[in-house]
Symmetry: D2
Subunit: 429 residues, 4 copies
């Protein structure tokens, strides 16, 4: 019965699956050979719960999705000033592999284009690391974001190095401006290894959730990078993460995001959720075609947009206790604050995914001050499923904060003003 969100994810995967437009990245055989039909999506909540549908455990190379995480590591390891001195934060409005250096200083425009990402790789870890140690630092850091030990795909690494002409060009150009101060080829080698780290969609969702959770990995509880670093990374993802489509993304989707040429795509909504999708066919910006469609659905279906006023997930569920005993026992789920997608998700887990022995269940909205549309629909779906499972469901809503409380399709709910009403007569929706 843990399936409301997985059902939703399955539904949207099915909706985008017929779109076979785009092509997998073709510049190396290893990527060109990817199965183009692979499709997966996962949500990782800031408390560590993960929902997935489709191919969420298939591994693929992280590619450019490593960029925001490596940027976070560099900021954490070196501090803001040294990193900002070498890599800007301005959107370039250009494709990922444009050189885009500032004309006077040679500073890459931002850390999401290759020039910036190569420079960022060279700034990961404390100064003085050799190339091998630095790759270790980066793989360790990415693993900390993911909450499990990651490893590189050596075949992809080797093939990419054999085709790394453009990145070598960029690195030598950076070397000529003293943005890189060590051997250009060695840095490209390390950066290429960084891009060849293998991840699943599930891993990516968890990495994104670590960003959404102020830098704390929801599973391990480790503060992977400090909170100001996360704010910086999310800001840069918002304005530069989708390359030359940044503006469209920022307005239509509104979720800080990053894509990779192997077909991955992540988004992080601060305080709420980390999201990831996987589908190898790319559009002409180099972003996953179906991945972009999925995120557009996520944003419009769930009101996930940084310029909206999302209610936070924090402690949406205040208490979960039983009042009374025997056949009159009433399971009370007390909600509080503003309830949005993420808050409703917490309730789902408590109310639906667990099988309660009590027949009577109450959702107590007394301490809720607002509830958005997606959360309302989710709560009503909870009610409906609980009804179908044989429960008698009460909605404690003294201030009528839940409009039109009709769960429909077999659901049934009794709206009351207080928990006391859960025993007496009440109107039913």
């Amino acid at each position: 019965m843990r399936s409301i969100i997985p059902d939703y994810l399955t539904e949207v995967l099915d909706a985008v699956r017929p779109d076979a437009s785009g092509e997998p990245a073709g510049y190396i055989p290893e990527l060109a050979a990817a199965d183009p039909e692979r499709l997966g999506a996962a949500f990782a909540m800031v408390d560590g719960e993960v929902y997935g549908a489709g191919d969420v455990d298939t591994e693929f190379t992280i590619q450019s999705i490593s960029k925001p995480f490596a940027y976070a590591l560099a900021l954490a390891d070196r501090g803001f000033a040294p990193v900002l001195a070498k890599v800007g934060v301005e959107p370039s409005g250009e494709a990922f592999n444009e050189i885009s250096l500032e004309s006077d200083t040679g500073r890459p425009r931002n850390p999401m284009i290759n020039a910036g990402a190569i420079t960022v790789h060279s700034l990961a870890g404390p100064a003085g690391l050799n190339a091998t140690e630095r790759v270790e630092r980066v793989v360790d850091g990415l693993s900390a974001f993911a909450g499990r030990r990651l490893r590189t795909d050596d075949a992809v690494y080797a093939s990419e190095m054999a085709h790394a002409h453009r990145n070598l060009a960029i690195a030598h150009m950076l070397r000529s401006h003293d943005i890189l101060v060590e051997d250009a080829r060695a840095v490209v080698d390390g950066y290429t290894r960084q891009c060849s780290v293998l991840v699943s969609t599930r891993d990516l969702a968890m990495m994104a959730a670590t960003l959404a959770n102020r830098g704390v990995n929801p599973l391990s509880g480790e503060q992977v990078v400090p909170e100001p670093v996360v704010r910086q990374v999310l800001s840069v993802m918002f304005s530069c993460g989708m390359y030359d489509a940044a503006g469209d993304w920022g307005t239509q989707v509104g979720i800080p995001a990053k894509s990779g040429v192997a077909g991955g795509l992540i988004g992080a909504l601060p305080g709420h959720v980390g999201m990831a999708t996987f589908s190898p066919r790319l559009d002409n910006h180099g972003n996953s075609v179906r991945g972009v469609s999925l995120f557009e659905r996520f944003s419009s279906d769930m009101g996930l947009h940084v310029m909206e006023v999302p209610a936070t997930a924090r402690a949406a569920l205040r208490t979960n206790h039983v009042v009374g005993s025997g056949p009159e026992a009433l399971r009370v789920l007390e909600l509080q604050g503003g309830i949005g997608f993420a808050g409703a998700e917490r309730v789902i887990r408590e109310a639906v995914d667990t099988s309660y022995p009590e027949t009577r269940i109450a959702l107590d909205l007394t301490r809720v001050h607002s509830i958005d549309d997606v959360a309302r629909r989710m709560l009503l779906e909870i009610v409906r499923r609980l009804t179908l499972d044989g429960h008698e469901v009460y909605l404690v809503d003294p201030e009528s904060i839940m409009p039109d409380p009709d769960p429909g399709d077999g659901g049934r709910v009794t709206v009351v003003d207080s928990l006391d009403g859960a025993s007496g007569p009440a109107c039913s929706g």
Copy 2:
């Protein structure tokens, strides 16, 4: 006693006042003659309360700050598709007066550069308006955002038209691409009138608050533009509002913002607050020097950054009632939800700015699930001032959600587990 926030604003104004760098805009005599020492700042909360310090009632021309509002009007009046067909949403990374048209279509890159703003002006109001009617529509719309009737400065308008060579160039270029479909000069004339609307810092704060309040003017309650329009406008302000410094602004300040050459600067934090500053000296990006410094302070002092997880202001104060009577009467301010700057501000108004006859006052945090650092400091300052005013203050905090409740410097508070404790013995902080 309504002075905690004004005190703060006065303090930061004093901090930036010595910075006399930059120059007022000099391209027309009317702007060049502006008193460069003028300095003001205002906050307008989403419920209509306004705080100000300095020259908040001095009128000046709105200039480019009209751009996001006119964009909102065009989106509301024409719908998204016709406007997006004519003006993009991609950051240009260029100065405000760059032409920045897409090479194939001639579409301006975004509505915050002049090319986009001139096009947007032509899209305000329903199709078919003549030039005069369109100016009326825009002035009406700006007035609705401000919550009072605004008017244009005809001397500034006339002087700007006499120096509008570059805007005329842009408009003719737009006409050549059929982005404009009417007389180029007439559109520039209307746009110039739009820019010459007179506003005070207080007005600008209220206009920004309308954006922060999902498009509803906090004073009039009018839904000036629909909520999806606001989301679009804020997204574009975030990525394009500060021209070629957009990335720095987005990371360091993180507040959707817009500046004008007369020295105004606004910011809107969704769900929280509209902010405005006024200081005529401009940096080489064309942004107010002190204004930028002020916003940097606002962001860092108050944790106002869209990539953080702000607690909303919505109904932070649940109830304000009196329990008991006579000398035992207890004034109870019941808070709820997550408390951030904007929430704490609501409490200040209730707790401090009003003079209560009751000696005993309780801040009830029972329904509060989180409180951020700036809010914590504000609440403690409330406590301190209430103490100094002779009140006996209680903090009802059964879950110890307020860390280290020491108001300091003459303040005194009794922390209790429930309102009942406000009569009995308790620990004091």
Copy 3:
């Protein structure tokens, strides 16, 4: 019998005629309605002789071909310094209607792009002319180049003004940089009139010949502009005249040239010849498709390339006199110097186009020090035609400067060491 060069021109016109690729300029109805099959070519020698084939007397608007001539007038009327201060001489590598202003000064990159040409128009005539007087100055000047009174096409002018959005944009931009210092629209109006001057292919060839002839109109003998001006104009035509195809043109054709959207194309080879073609279909650079092909033929067939070492036409024919009388009378055409295309053309006129009563004709090469391949072929064709006309032809060539003197196909020549040999026995080719 004046037909060797016309025959050549007819032959190359026939060769390019089947190429129906490209389209006439379509931005105004008057140009779109041009008969796309019109085709003409003319050569004007520096002594005023004109050869033509095809539609050489059809009038069409001069359009951008006016640019080098107006530039010449401005340089002559104002001097170099004031003009160079406002318009550069660097190739822009861009299309004709690109704005291409220097970023710091707003100076147009060169006088062949519209921005430069509009500025140049404003500099024609002495300072202080009003707009009408300036147009008169320009039309007078163009007429002086052509050697006849030219007039404007008012319908084309009016139609172009109604579509002059882009040029108005450019002019307002120039006004904003104080490159233009008068009313932008008035300058565009004058420039549009300049472009609407009606010329025939014959006129254009004569205008080009005036440039090839150090600024002296070959017909009128008027020094239209000083010689240093001509050098400047030809240099700029060479590097900027064919817009973004300048380099291909410079290497493959090597003739300073200028095209117009009505289908005209001119070239000027210093010291030799002015050339013009007319065919309205344009390639995607805006140059006449067949015109470009014709010039490629001219260059390769006749060795006309500024980076070759052409022998000059000056006084190739030293004397034309008769020795002896009666049946022994010998018409002697004494050549001198280096003989190239232009020199051979002079000889054709004297030897073939005139009908001499003398049966015996001698071409005396004693004073000739070199002869290039095209000139050799032309001289042999002269011999052949003279033979066919019944003449007995002698070639006085003591130093065997003419290799392989076989006129072929009915021609016959007797090669001798001196004029004395024209009476005695000699070898025949």
Copy 4:
């Protein structure tokens, strides 16, 4: 007495010597350490005569002056099509080290910028050469242009390779576009060796003279590259040789030219002369400051501009013979054709640089059809010097082609109508 032209060169060197502006190239120690006061100039006539003044035998590295010669070699070795497929001919209007690749194909804009020159190096010699063989081919080719065996400076080569970051960047970028199809570093290595070839100013003048002489080295008589290759190379030098100052150079100087960062500068005037200067201080375009000034003098003093109509040097001197014997013996120098600088130079050599026993010397202008101003002044200086050497000088000028024949300052000449007049009474100038 061979000193008229050396005197001129010495004079102009003295004129530019006080200009100590600019700095030697500083990016490697070997160039930074160059003696900035070195100054030399040389002319090499198309028949092999060389004139020089100053440090004409000091060796320095050829640097970018190798570019046009390597381009010539590639065109000769591979043919036009394969080279044009890889390197364009359009001016870039950019600095020498800009990448300037065509956005679609990655083709460098022209062979004079580094991207083009690196590509050109890879195309020198037949396909299939290894890197070492290719360097040999290039050094052999440069030597053939110079007419003597050249060698590389290994210290400069090694130092440049250690600082070749930018060229490595360019080469890797070219490799990414398959413009280079072999190891990027190896090509840069070869190109760097090419740039390190040691030449003197004298060598450079001879190399330029080989271009001016249709590809035939004036000393060795070797056809180093075919004539169409020379035309191509000169055209590209004219439009692209002076980088972002190409237009100024083309109009003001008008001589196809190329500069090198070691301070060398060459120019080639087709059919006339190769010129070279050496002075290490560079302007901000990377061109020798004094070198540019010298070429401006050469152009204005001698009318050397491709857009003028220069009279060619070919056989300006028709015969040099003695008429009569004993004290009446008359040395006759018979001139012909058009006489310009280069023609007059030939006369100087015959008339002045040789010591004739005959007292009476005649310059016979009967077969001369034109004479330009610099040639006139040179001929009068010849007359003056012959007078001072005790000769009695006659000018045979039946058509008064020499205006104002006053040699001045001790010179004396008798103008006559025919050689017969050299015995009888005549007017003297």
